[in-house]
Each structure stands twice: as structure tokens, then as C-alpha cells.
């Protein structure tokens, strides 16, 4: 008998098997009474509420969202670049500092990065209360770590000979450092900076759902009052904001050879650093930490959380990540492969856009109208939202690919679907899987959001512990979250390396 051999194409489709256990649980959990609500939600999409009052609210809330998103982006990109430099080995080579420090900083940043901004947000809100600046701080903490990783990775690609050449001139250390890292930093900012601004705005919306402010808060409130027409007004306005910002970002080109623009950027850089430090000090010395006794309380005494229950929550979180990743990987190629004509593709793109647009907690709340809370429902939510993102990438790559193989196969009389699979998709499968490995890092972190809303895994426990001010439980949950995310990142890193 021939041995089964898996290739990249089959590996892209295989995870769709997660739909079997998922589907059976979802079918068992359906409650038909909620379909009327779901129907109302869908109809409202074509009939959003439009009057003067809501337009003014939308403008105000969008302003808040943009403001929080923009400031968190600005601070996180600047400090991300600084931390990127001090967590890259080029810094240690120039200053002759032992690599030991470099490992400590990287480890510290990995821990910070492993916890989702929503988790930081709800923890900080519990400590400091609801505050406009909490949103900025909650986004900045993990984003600085994420951005620093990207900057550091770019700095690692610097040709060692360039370093030797500048080092041999024996210039002052800071001059050498600046000359070596300047262009990689600028180029990373050009390629990656605006994408991070979009991410920052999306994160602001999600944090808004948890009460930080901005349009997210209004989305959540309108859902709670089942005011779907109002909800869709907010969702469409958010869609317009994302589409417009995407169009504007495409047009923006940073001309670093223009002296005035360069000086302007440098001024913004230093003002942001100065302002951030001043605000940080103000924040520390002007808060009462009402509900938060002391840092020592985080580690004091044993918690009420039983070991068995805790392990069960960890297992649930891991299963949730795996199931969601399975959907995010396989759903786009399966759907595109089956409905492989121009009209279907058009509708798939719209559907994928809506999945990307609607924040995961809202998708989950919508699905909860006709399904009981379960691990499968949370996995479906997270999987669908991320499938919206992976499908965008897959469409972009497939459209820019050389179609000669596909045409040649069709000319041999091979069916359109098979030609698509073997002539087009098979060439993209490897890079698609590599991106999905990166995406699964994000999915692991996002389990916290659906966990909080969908009463699943560690996210749920975190919410419970926070509302009862059980800080030692919060610490345990955060350590568990962080550990899962770090282990996941290590495994995905290995997968990515084997695929690239």
C-alpha cells in the first residue's frame, strides 16, 4: 500500500476537519428562538439609522477612536523603534555590552507582547478606573513590544560587513549606531508603520467594547439594547473609516530626502518621547489605585482557583486556539476553491470584509443570539474573523500570481476547480501556510477577547477574578496566558522557519 504523503496544498485543506466536532456541538446548541433577532440584525444592515443626532454621535465617537488610535500608534511606533534598537544584537556589538542583557530585554518584551491589549485594558481599567488614557496605555504596552520585535528583526538583517566598515572608522559609538540603523529603521517605518496605525485603530474599537470609549463603546451599547439599526450605523461608519484610511495610507509616501519633512519627523519624535515621559510620571503620581492594594498582593496567599479547574481552563484555551486556527487556515481555500467564479468571488470578498470589519466580540454576541455559549462557538467566532484576514491575503496573492499553469491545465480539459487547485493554489500554499503560522500567534492572544465574552477558557476566568478583585488569581491567569502565547510563538516560529 502506498504511504500517505502530505504536501503544502493538502496541509492547507486538512484543518477543515475541525468543522466536524465543531459543527456537531454547534447544531446541538442551537436555540431557534433567537433566529428572529439574527434576522433583524441582518435586515438592519440595509436600513441603518440615519438622523442628525446619530451622525453627530458617530463623528464624535470616530474622533475619539482616531485620537486614541493615533496617539497609541505614535507612542508605540517611536518606543518600538527605540526598544527594537536596544533589543537587536547590533547595539550590543557597537557598545561591547554582553549579550546577556540583550536576552533579558528580549524575554521581557516577549512576555509583554504575549498578553493581548484587551487583557491589559481590562486589568488597567480595574486598577485605575475608566479613563481615556487607559486605552492609549493598554494599546501601547503590547504594541511597543510587537513593534520592537519587527524593528529588531529588520536590524538583524543588516549586513555584518556594513557594521565592520563603520566600526572601523572608529567614530563615537552613538554616531556609528545611528549611521548603521538609520535606514533600516526608516524603511521599516515606511513599510510597516501605517499598517500598525490601522491595527491601532482596530484595537481601539475592540477596547471600546469593553468601555474605554470611542465608537466601540457605542457599538456595544447599541447591541446590548438590541438597537441593530443604530449598531449598523456605527459599523458602516467604521467601515468607511477603514476603507478611507486604507486609501489615504496607499497615497502617503514618506519622502525622507526632504529636509523640512525630516526635521518635522524628528521634532515629532522628540516631542512624543518628552510628552510620554511627562505623562507617565503624571499618571503614576496622580492615581489613587483605589482597588489595587499593592504589588505584593499579586503574589500573596493561595487562590481559590483549584488546580484541576485551572488546568481545564488552560486546555480549553489551547483547544480554542487550535480550532480557530484550523478554520482560519482552511476555510478561505475551501470556499474560494468551491465557489470559483467571478460573481462568487465578489460576494466572498464582501463577506470576508464584513468578517474583518465586525470586531470579534460583536460577532460572538451575534452568534449567541441563536446558539448557547460553548467552546465551539468561541472557536467559530475567532476562526471566522481570522479567516476574513487570511482570505484577503490569499486573494491578493492569487490575483498577482502567474496564471500560465492554470491556463495550460484548463486547455488540457482539466476542470476549473482542479486547475485552480493545482495550477494556482498549490504554488501559493507554502507562503500561505507560513502567513497562517504567524496568524496563529495572534489567534492565541485573541482567545482572551472571546474568552471574556463567551465564558470560555482563561479569558472568562480573568474577567471573573478581576471583578472579584482576586489579584493573585489574575496574576496566575496572566502567567498562564503568557506561557501559552510564548510556547505557541516558539512552535509557530519553528513552523515559519521550515516554511520560509
Amino acid at each position: 500500500m502506498n504511504k500517505l504523503k502530505l504536501n503544502y496544498t493538502s496541509l492547507s485543506f486538512l484543518p477543515i476537519l475541525v468543522c466536524i466536532p465543531l459543527g456537531s456541538q454547534l447544531i446541538n446548541n442551537i436555540h431557534f428562538g433567537g433566529f428572529k433577532l439574527f434576522q433583524e440584525f441582518l435586515i438592519s444592515a440595509f436600513n441603518p439609522k440615519i438622523d442628525n443626532e446619530i451622525i453627530i454621535t458617530v463623528i464624535n465617537r470616530l474622533n475619539e477612536t482616531i485620537l486614541i488610535g493615533f496617539f497609541s500608534w505614535l507612542v508605540s511606533i517611536i518606543f518600538g523603534a527605540i526598544f527594537g534598537i536596544i533589543s537587536s544584537n547590533i547595539f550590543y556589538k557597537i557598545f561591547n555590552i554582553p549579550n546577556f542583557f540583550y536576552r533579558i530585554i528580549r524575554f521581557f518584551l516577549t512576555i509583554i507582547r504575549s498578553i493581548h491589549e484587551v487583557v491589559w485594558g481590562i486589568v488597567l481599567m480595574q486598577i485605575y478606573g475608566i479613563n481615556f488614557s487607559i486605552g492609549i496605555i493598554a494599546i501601547c504596552i503590547p504594541y511597543i513590544a510587537v513593534n520592537s520585535k519587527v524593528f529588531a528583526e529588520q536590524l538583524e538583517t543588516i549586513d555584518y560587513k556594513r557594521f565592520e566598515s563603520i566600526n572601523q572608522i572608529n567614530a563615537p559609538k552613538f554616531s556609528s549606531l545611528l549611521t548603521i540603523v538609520w535606514n533600516p529603521i526608516i524603511n521599516t517605518f515606511k513599510n510597516f508603520g501605517l499598517y500598525r496605525l490601522e491595527c491601532s485603530i482596530r484595537s481601539t474599537v475592540i477596547l471600546g467594547l469593553f468601555g474605554i470609549g470611542g465608537i466601540g463603546t457605542n457599538i456595544f451599547l447599541s447591541f446590548q439594547t438590541l438597537n441593530f439599526r443604530e449598531l449598523w450605523t456605527y459599523l458602516w461608519s467604521l467601515a468607511i473609516l477603514i476603507i478611507l484610511s486604507g486609501l489615504i495610507f496607499k497615497k502617503i509616501k514618506f519622502n525622507t530626502t526632504n529636509k523640512i519633512i525630516s526635521i518635522f519627523f524628528i521634532a515629532v519624535f522628540f516631542i512624543t518621547i518628552l510628552f510620554s515621559f511627562s505623562y507617565f510620571l503624571y499618571f503614576i503620581f496622580n492615581n489613587n489605585f483605589e482597588n489595587f492594594n499593592s504589588v505584593s498582593s499579586l503574589f500573596k496567599s493561595s487562590s481559590d482557583l483549584g488546580l484541576f479547574d485551572f488546568l481545564k481552563l488552560i486546555l480549553e484555551t489551547i483547544i480554542l486556539s487550535l480550532l480557530s486556527t484550523g478554520i482560519a487556515i482552511s476555510l478561505p481555500p475551501v470556499v474560494i476553491g468551491i465557489f470559483n467564479n467571478n460573481t462568487s468571488k465578489f460576494f466572498i470578498k464582501i463577506f470576508a470584509f464584513i468578517l474583518r470589519l465586525i470586531p470579534t466580540p460583536v460577532i460572538l454576541l451575534i452568534l449567541l443570539t441563536f446558539n448557547n455559549p460553548s467552546l465551539s462557538l468561541a472557536a467559530l467566532t475567532l476562526g471566522l474573523h481570522n479567516a476574513g484576514i487570511t482570505s484577503k491575503l490569499l486573494f491578493t496573492n492569487l490575483e498577482s500570481q502567474d496564471r500560465r499553469n492554470y491556463i495550460a491545465m484548463k486547455s488540457l480539459g482539466i476542470s476549473k476547480k482542479t486547475s485552480w487547485l493545482l495550477g494556482l493554489f498549490s504554488q501559493q500554499a507554502k507562503s500561505y501556510l507560513a502567513y497562517c503560522a504567524y496568524r496563529s500567534d495572534i489567534i492565541i492572544r485573541e482567545t482572551a477577547i472571546v474568552g471574556v465574552i463567551g465564558s470560555i477558557g482563561l479569558g472568562w476566568q480573568l474577567q471573573e477574578s478581576l471583578t472579584s478583585f482576586a489579584w493573585q488569581e489574575v496574576t496566575i491567569v496572566l502567567i498562564a496566558y503568557s506561557s501559552i502565547a510564548i510556547v505557541g510563538e516558539l512552535i509557530n516560529g519553528k513552523i515559519k522557519n521550515s516554511l520560509t
Binding site: P172, F174, S175
Partner: protein
């Protein structure tokens, strides 16, 4: 009087179990112009990298001004300038910014900052670029947009602007046409004062393949398999010597 500038004492260098330099002893006196001959892979580049302190030898001692590299301060180390075989220019910077990098050692951080922002003075850089016969149309061009010969001359201009006493050059005449070779050779082997007129002696060790250029050097060193085979006055060089290393 001991006028030894650079000295290698019993230098060996091992890389991945391969002995690249094997017990090399060498003295370079002030004002000496030395040509370094040898096949590709004979250890010329490694020898230059050991001399400028870029790589640490596995065994032996390197001395500059009778001090080991660890004892030297930054200003003393900057008395050596190197022209690398692979040039090692910063591709994303313009030609003039790259040449200005040669001035980093004698300036502060603010100068480096202004250079990257393109707001520093390029007067001095332009002067050296002109000396290297670089047309002003290439001043603002990014390195990646230049031809091989233009890049070579930018690297030479960057080295000259450093105003160092000791020049180490690894095949600096690559990519240059015969007329330019003469000009560049004169520039490299002669120190220029502020007005580019008065000439003073300069110490140089230049790795090259072209035998017709040897007449301008005081000494010739032949290297093969990481070992120095001969170290003689250039006018004593015979075919016999060359047969040993090629």
C-alpha cells in the same frame, strides 16, 4: 629610532578549523609603501582585517604605535583607514553621505545626525569626490544606483577624507580604467595638505594583482596559504619570487 607603526608578531588565524593565517610576522615602518601580492584566497583580506583590528587573531599579537589594540583609544585607532575589496558602502545613503561617513571619527553625534538628514555640509566630501574624478551628477545618487567604478571611487573618497596616516587597501584598483588607476594610485599613496599641493609621506599596505603598479611601492610582500613567502624591496622582485606564490 624605532619608527615601526604596525607590527604583527607570530599571528595565526583559524576559521572553522582552516588555518587562514599561519605564524605571520610583519613590521610596517612609517612612510613605507608596501604591495601585498598573492592568489585569491591566499589570506590577503584576512591579513588586512587583522591589521585594522576588525578580526582578532587566534594567536599572536598586533601592535599599533607599539601598543596592542586594546590599549589604544578611539582617536589612535582612527589613524588607520581601510578600503575594502567589497567596498562596504551604505547602499541606502547617497554618495556624498557615504563619503561624509569618513568624517564621523573627528565629529560628534550631531554631525552623524545631520549627515543622515542630509543637512550637513558636503563641501569637504565634494572636494575629495572631485579628486577621485567623480562627476557632480553622482553626488546625490544612492550607492545602489552607481556603477562599479563609481562605487569604487566613493569608497576611496571616503577613505581619503578620513585623513589617516595608515592606509590599508584591498584591491582598490578594481573596476577602474587605466587612466583612472594612475590618478587614484597617486591619490592613495600621497598625503595631501589642505590645499592639495604639498605632499608628505604616507604609510600604505595595498593588496593588488597588477604587477605593473609595483614600481611605485617600496616593498613587496608575497603571501600564499596564509604564510609570508617573501618580504623584499620592490626593485629586487624576480620571476622566481612570483612563481612561489602564484
Amino acid at each position: 629610532m624605532n619608527n615601526t607603526l604596525l607590527e604583527l608578531k607570530n599571528i595565526s588565524y583559524k576559521y572553522k578549523n582552516n588555518l587562514i593565517l599561519n605564524k605571520v610576522n610583519l613590521k610596517i615602518n612609517s612612510g613605507e609603501k608596501i604591495a601585498l601580492l598573492g592568489k585569491s584566497g591566499s589570506g590577503k583580506t584576512t591579513l588586512i582585517s587583522v591589521l585594522n583590528g576588525t578580526i582578532k587573531p587566534t594567536q599572536g599579537e598586533v601592535k599599533l604605535f607599539n601598543k596592542s589594540f586594546e590599549e589604544l583609544d578611539r582617536k589612535q585607532k582612527s589613524k588607520i583607514t581601510t578600503i575594502w575589496q567589497d567596498l562596504r558602502l551604505i547602499e541606502d545613503l547617497s554618495a556624498e553621505q557615504n563619503v561624509n561617513c569618513g568624517l564621523l571619527a573627528e565629529n560628534n553625534f550631531y554631525f552623524a545626525f545631520k549627515n543622515l538628514l542630509n543637512i550637513s555640509s558636503f563641501k569637504k566630501a565634494h572636494k575629495y569626490m572631485q579628486l577621485c574624478r567623480l562627476h557632480n551628477s553622482v553626488y546625490h545618487k544612492k550607492i545602489r544606483k552607481l556603477s562599479g567604478g563609481q562605487k569604487q571611487r566613493v569608497a576611496i573618497a571616503r577613505s581619503l577624507i578620513q585623513g589617516s596616516n595608515i592606509l590599508l587597501a584591498d584591491e582598490p584598483f578594481n573596476n577602474l580604467d587605466p587612466k583612472l588607476i594612475t590618478t587614484i594610485k597617486n591619490l592613495l599613496l600621497e598625503n595631501l595638505d589642505k590645499n592639495n599641493t604639498k605632499k608628505s609621506p604616507k604609510t600604505a599596505l595595498v593588496a593588488l594583482h597588477r604587477l605593473d603598479l609595483l614600481k611605485d611601492f617600496d616593498k613587496v610582500i608575497g603571501i600564499r596559504d596564509g604564510k609570508i613567502f617573501f618580504n623584499i624591496k620592490s626593485n629586487n622582485l624576480k620571476k622566481l619570487h612570483l612563481d612561489k606564490i602564484y
